[in-house]
Symmetry: D2
Subunit: 344 residues, 4 copies
């Protein structure tokens, strides 16, 4: 397979990670780094590199060897930059969130479709060994039906002027949820609650609740104000429960083979049950850890070459964006439940 | 101090614990155990006891040496039994929740007030060494302002026909919150979300969200469907954070002396801050563990003798009941926020 | 099966636990409690019991309905009391250590043998759910060959005048080791090191090292001077490793299915290996917890009725006693290795 | 201060870490990397570096700008290489263990002394934030007298042909012990026990016991055959206990302020004590983590410029070497205790 010629736009916080992985993968060939500050771009790629540096996106887009562009700039610029790339016939990988508004996001997906180009959203967590193991476990039916998904993502975060805790941390849990839910199970609505107890002008503590189409429920606790870090997700299934503790290297996933067995005594009377409890083994499966971003970069390249949608395509980015937008609306309406599902 | 003559009504699940503690304390004298099944009552007190057994509450109430009655029967009977006791001039300790409806609860408080009698609600958790240490820590100002209170109470629970996860587990967190919040800080409203993903006819997974009057937020995750037990409460303060893990005997409370320091750059522009992070020590204070129920029983006796309101009086029970009732209404309205504060 | 008539001698620290279990089991009938202080004996059994109380062992031994005696007195009295019982034709259960000296212990075993009576040593830990699970795991070959056994038993202990840390805590690990080692694998020798760093006149920190007959090694760290409690045993096998953390209720045993695979490149040159490492799952098996002492009491009764040696018979007690005695000698000789195996 | 001109000999396993730190520090100037394979050396420093590469140590030693040489080659070569450097008037930093034999080690120390040159041993652990915090805690008297030091260093290790578990892992614990013991307290002797239960031709499980001059005891459990990693050191003091868990980033050190208070009842009778137990707080101090090897490199440069002995000088290396050599002798004599202290 011929390596995909790539340019990275944005050499700030996340860009250097993309640059490193595009440079290292044999499936891609990094041609350009474009940043408002060419000095910063140069510093990231080093003095000896053959990669070109510019502050002019047009120059990049005119290079016929650039087939694809990775956009790692602030969210407000995602849409205009991506549209420019599509107009120039380039595939696009964009950081999360896909765009600043649902309208922009939809237009991006449509533009990519119309041009027959790939639009991929960098939902990095979906490419971690842990989340892929979770998806595999669910797909294999080991958990049974998904009863609940409960995530706690708590940390001392950098308080930002233009982003609240939902738009900062929420895309992680929303994209993971979107990725692992089995076919046919979707979040049907979302309610959000938040607080800004230190008066910084942004929600710093937030809760998301998403009723699922199968009667289950998903929930995320997002918190910037905790000196101890917690990153734990519990997924309760009708057969087994899975606990993912992302801060426990070497043993991040635990599967509990215990639970409740219900036997309806009388089908007519729904409320009468013989309840029995199973106490079963706990298993921490061995997981080979790999760098998630390397897989992101390679999925991008492979999906372009194979002419198929990437695992986390523009539509996945759009679903996360829809949930974030609806959460914002819910906050504005004192936590009122907002319907989802327009973007599918 | 002359011991308070006491009768216990209900020798089922919780009654025997009350009976044991009333019998053991020097501040009380257990006179009667009253149960629909006198055999069960007899079994609990043993064959050699001088305590009387009956299935007739009237007999108990006619005994002039009975000054106080502890009610450990199903919630629907709390109100009629308590009213009978008040009519007979007896002080009352009642299990949580105070009553089945807010109206009944209010009438109970009013009846006790009118008769000049003590009404205490058995919010047992408020008498544990951990919760008393938490209250002390907050009262001493060690946490600073309360920014958030987040509780996770997750367990494989016995699925019950007539009680959902809110009414079963919620009183614990609501009474603790009521107990520890500093003067002047109150929950202003409540929203509730739930799921019954196994179709048992009762909410088995639930979330409560309570905006606080100081701009903070309280939240509880209540869950009957998890084979692993979690009982962790995080209380974030402006100065320090406290983590209470009730499943870690000998080291249940951890205080983190790290956090965020904000310095407003310009008072006029609220959104500009110099943020700095402190990395501080963590302290697990030594706590002498005592049986909570023993303290419940002694607080009941002391408050009667001293003619003062007990720490967890009928009004505290009423506030918890108001929150539970409002949560039920929120569920009926798809999670819409319900105002609180009518009962203060 | 007719219940075994039993007397308990000694109502001090451990006696009450035996008394409770003998009274509760259907396989035994508690007839007497004998203690130097009949008041203490009476207090333990309560005022309503039909069990007899005495301070005169002869009275007990003359009762033809007493078939067996449990001895829970200080170690120095084990031998004379047991010999008296054997002389009276009674079976004996004795607390650990079996006796104060190896000679006494041997004489006890011989006396029991000569009289055709049961002598059982109360190695309580061998009857816990954890140790039985460990034995089962080893017997099933799940661990493969036993490479090492490493135990840490560390705690703030009551400093005693007449017992050092080896004689206090050592019997636990030595009896467990004796119990779980597969047939044909035995400790061949023992070395002991200790310190009395607070100058209390007794070894308070001690280490035991026991080379095993299969080339493996066993080791125990015994420590009275630690405010944090540790009770962890690691058993390394050629196939799997087992970690037993006795302070983690509900998840005391963890099995690691990872390890080393050796492939000799050349049988002639022992030192050349292809080493490969397996990273495998970790499993915490579900274990139903039962009271160990209840099983002790029932094993005693069953072994008497079935005329067979109990699981932890006098010989097991003797092997532990031999190791303790040899450890004492090792200490006296600056840690010199002492041969074991005289008692098998 | 003028940067110290440095050459690194050996670009294999550990060398690249030294090279990176010498290159990054402003206190040193890396001039040469010398390796049997100049290609490997070149690969480590990269194609763009001004650092010279050679396989000829003489070329390095002839460079007048090279003031100091860091030796990261196999132990058997430490002595001849270091002696060559001293003969050429160069200061030396050498990896642990200092040399392969005590005689060689002594000769190295003497040669450095005679030439007035610095000899430093790279006991990296002594420069970690954790060990420096431990030393500080002990020096401040917070632990009181050192009663015991117990280390467990357990891991699946690479089985090596020419090194056993003592020479591989032992230098860590021996150098830490040497570093943190307060003035006047020294290990007086050493006993070693080991096993090679998989028949690989090397001790894979080992125990070291070192009686201390103050009546305390030090002990290390070294183990290559465990799939789970444990790196825990407990230091019991007369006032407090410290637990160092090196696998718990952000909370590696815990201080327990609980323990035993002894009050002799009668000075004449040593064995009578009023024992009382204190239950105190536990504190995990905040520790700023820095790269240990950077501090090694800077201590080397500073000690050269200041003409003083480095923190971990040749004599410290020699003390560790003496203990390792004595341990080997102890193994050969079935664990017999070997005196230490010849090297002080």
């Amino acid at each position: 397979m011929k390596p995909v010629g790539v340019a990275v736009v944005g050499a700030g916080y996340w860009g250097p990670n993309l640059i490193r992985n595009f440079a290292a993968s044999e499936l891609t060939r990094l041609r350009w780094v474009c940043d408002l500050s060419p000095e910063r771009a140069q510093q990231v790629i080093g003095t000896q590199s053959e990669v070109n540096v510019t502050d002019d996106l047009d120059e990049v887009l005119q290079d016929p060897e650039v087939e694809a562009v990775a956009i790692a700039t602030p969210p407000s610029t995602h849409s205009p930059l991506a549209q420019k790339c599509f107009a120039a016939g380039k595939h696009v990988l964009v950081e999360k969130p896909l765009a600043e508004s649902l309208e922009e996001g939809r237009a991006m997906v449509e533009a990519a479709d119309a041009a027959g180009l790939t639009l991929m959203c960098d939902h990095t967590f979906c490419y971690t060994s842990s989340v892929r193991k979770i998806k595999e476990t669910i797909d294999d039916g080991e958990l049974g039906d998904i009863l609940y998904f409960d995530s706690v993502r708590v940390n001392l975060g950098l308080i930002q002027r233009d982003v609240d805790v939902f738009w900062d941390l929420g895309p992680h849990d929303l994209s993971i949820l979107d990725f692992i839910l089995p076919d046919g199970v979707t979040p049907e609505a979302i309610a959000a609650h938040s607080a800004d107890p230190m008066n910084v002008g942004q929600a710093c503590v937030g809760y998301l609740t998403l009723p699922l189409s199968n009667g289950g429920i998903a929930h995320a606790h997002l918190n910037w104000l905790s000196p101890t870090k917690i990153r734990t997700t519990i997924i309760g299934g009708s057969k087994r429960m899975l606990v993912w503790d992302d801060l426990r290297p070497g043993q991040r996933i635990h599967l509990y083979d215990s639970g409740i067995d219900l036997e309806p005594v009388d089908a007519a009377k729904r409320r009468e049950y013989l309840v029995s409890y199973r106490a079963g083994d706990m298993i921490a499966p061995a997981i080979r850890e790999t760098e998630a971003l390397r897989l992101v970069v390679e999925e991008f390249a492979n999906s372009i070459r194979e002419g198929r949608a990437p695992l986390t395509d523009g539509r996945a980015g759009l679903r996360v964006l829809e949930a974030l937008t609806a959460a914002r609306q819910s906050i504005a309406q004192s936590g009122a439940m907002q319907q989802l599902g327009q973007t599918r």
